[in-house]
Symmetry: none
Subunit: 211 residues, 4 copies
């Protein structure tokens, strides 16, 4: 389900045993935690291993290098986000657009709140890539984008699929950015930003007679 990002999350050895799988998860959890706490650069692989209570060698058995942890984390985030969206989308497919926007934005807000490392991880991934690779990252959004674009095309059959993809992309980027902004603020302001996000999206989509 995860997109085939170039070298994405290339795990050295696919852990088959329960114990190994649990270790891999623990490593990723610790990495996420430390990346948030002290930043990617300040996080040493040894620190991750130590806190995850595995020897460094074990860490390197599963992840070829530090960067791979970042990619695996991104994959994990994406997969969760995708499932969240796909489920909600299925449930809301026939709802009026205002309600659809309302529920979806709330869901993403919840997701962002629950995964404070998401943006930090994506951010670092961007830094590690040259401009040329930058587009690869979009593939993370691709799956959601396709669903969204189809949805829009159904709501307004006069729009080309190409146009719908453009609208979908715009929508996704805007939501991500505003939700991230919201995360840096206190709860009161967060609500205002989220409300504003909904207002903005509804207005935008109505421009295309999507209702």
């Amino acid at each position: 389900m995860a997109p085939d990002l170039q070298k994405s999350a290339k795990i050295r050895r696919q852990p088959k045993q329960a114990r190994s799988q649990e270790r891999v998860n623990r490593i990723l959890d610790v990495a996420e935690q430390l990346f948030i706490e002290v930043g990617y650069d300040q996080t040493t692989t040894r620190a991750i291993a130590t806190r995850a209570e595995v020897p460094v060698g074990t860490l390197y058995q599963f992840f070829p290098d530090k960067e791979a942890l970042l990619k695996a984390l991104a994959d994990r985030y994406f997969e969760q986000e995708y499932h969240l969206f796909a489920q909600l989308h299925a449930a809301m497919a026939d709802a009026p657009i205002a309600e659809y926007v309302d529920r979806v934005v709330d869901a993403f807000d919840q997701f962002a709140t629950d995964h404070p490392g998401y943006r930090a991880v994506l951010n670092h991934l961007i830094d590690l890539m040259t401009v040329a690779d930058a587009r690869n990252l979009d593939e993370y959004d691709q799956q959601i984008l396709v669903i969204l674009a189809r949805f829009l095309a159904q709501r307004n059959t006069s729009l080309t699929l190409e146009k719908c993809e453009l609208i979908a992309m715009t929508t996704i980027k805007v939501v991500n950015e505003l939700l991230w902004l919201s995360l840096t603020r206190d709860r009161a302001f967060q609500h205002q930003i989220i409300a504003e996000t909904k207002t903005l999206l509804t207005a935008y989509l109505q421009t295309y007679q999507i209702e």
Copy 2:
């Protein structure tokens, strides 16, 4: 003019002589170039000094540490962006909103194109900060935000200034994000994204009877 970012661009010695000022600029130009070329982490202070044809010691006379280069660069970008906006805003203050949006988005697009390092620099700055500091970065936008908020309040006097600031912030974030997205695409797609940005903003602002 530059906001008082914590430790922002604290230049050790204010170069008074022409030669020094020229050196500082050369150092910043080289730093910008290298940050784009190989990334912040891969750029060594020595490499910057060497390419700028100054001794490392001299670099450290003007910048207390590597991070200060990033901040100084951000300041420089901001100042240019602010002047660009302030000038254009003054000229367009009375134009219909659609035209205003059109010209301003184009101007920011041009700016982003001319300064390919802008986003990369801001990105790294974010990485270096803990979540707590993150709001500091917004101060870069603060000046533009204030002008924009006042402008909106004038166009629709029934809106509170607080609300106008929220709208302004939303607007700025959205423009930044979509323009950055545009930068990673080919020229044809860039035009589409920019057109979409304008559509979105116009629809959004019209929601508030700003015309």
Copy 3:
């Protein structure tokens, strides 16, 4: 037949079954190949095991450590070299010295050409030994030396066996060195070096009235 080199080729388990023996040989063949290709240090035991299509654990069942592979290889080379020499020597025991030298040098040349890893292996073995151990390596030549010394003593009965051993040792070392030199050159030069080796040896032995 192999001399009792200290720790030499101490194989952990003498493989009695055909399959095991075949595995040991395959491991040694691969080790030889890799030592030549990338060098002893760059060759990992895992790489050897993988290419030989055996699990690492199995490799360690036959060889106590990496060094043992080197020693086993040296033993294998030696044994082959010894048989080659012993056979040829028997056939040439009565030939004039010039002809003897001619045939033996040619045979060693052929052997060196056929076993490009020989010198590399010996070389590494030397590196792994302290100066004190260095003499152990000579034991590889010991068997050939003894045959040669006896041969010389028969040809000139006025020479002590001790003296003959000295001459034999000198001869062996010289041939080894010059043949190795020859290996690093193109075919045309190789012939010249080999001819020179024969000239040198014949002159040397004639000094002792060995004809």
Copy 4:
């Protein structure tokens, strides 16, 4: 004077100050000592730095990596050997060949005794090179070879220079090998080997009417 071995002894910074030069020498002395004591692989750069009483960073300021130490050492050996030979050769240019051989072999013997690390260093250098590079090492001998070849050509004008170079190369290789052999033996045996070396060389050169 040292041959331009590929990347040979590429010192990062040419120490111009007396203190630095002294440090470089101290580093090389310690490296030589440790390479002999525990072998190249077992010698860590940190150990070298520590014993030489310099910080590791300083070591790396002069030598780009561990291998560079080996090469610098080889260069240093060669230069000394070359000077030794050149001087002695000048003094002996007109002596009878037996006396010439006698003195030169003794001189090389002395040199080998004084520099117990010489062969170990060359040996390691060989290991680090692919077969393709192997010939580069001969360049170390090249200067001595040229002198020797010219000398032979003068002594027997009927020999081509090419032939003389072949003879010279043979001579040098043989002497090196036998002297190294001698080093691994006790004093009594050393004398025998050296005597044998002289016998062999004299017989060999007389073959070509060099007297």
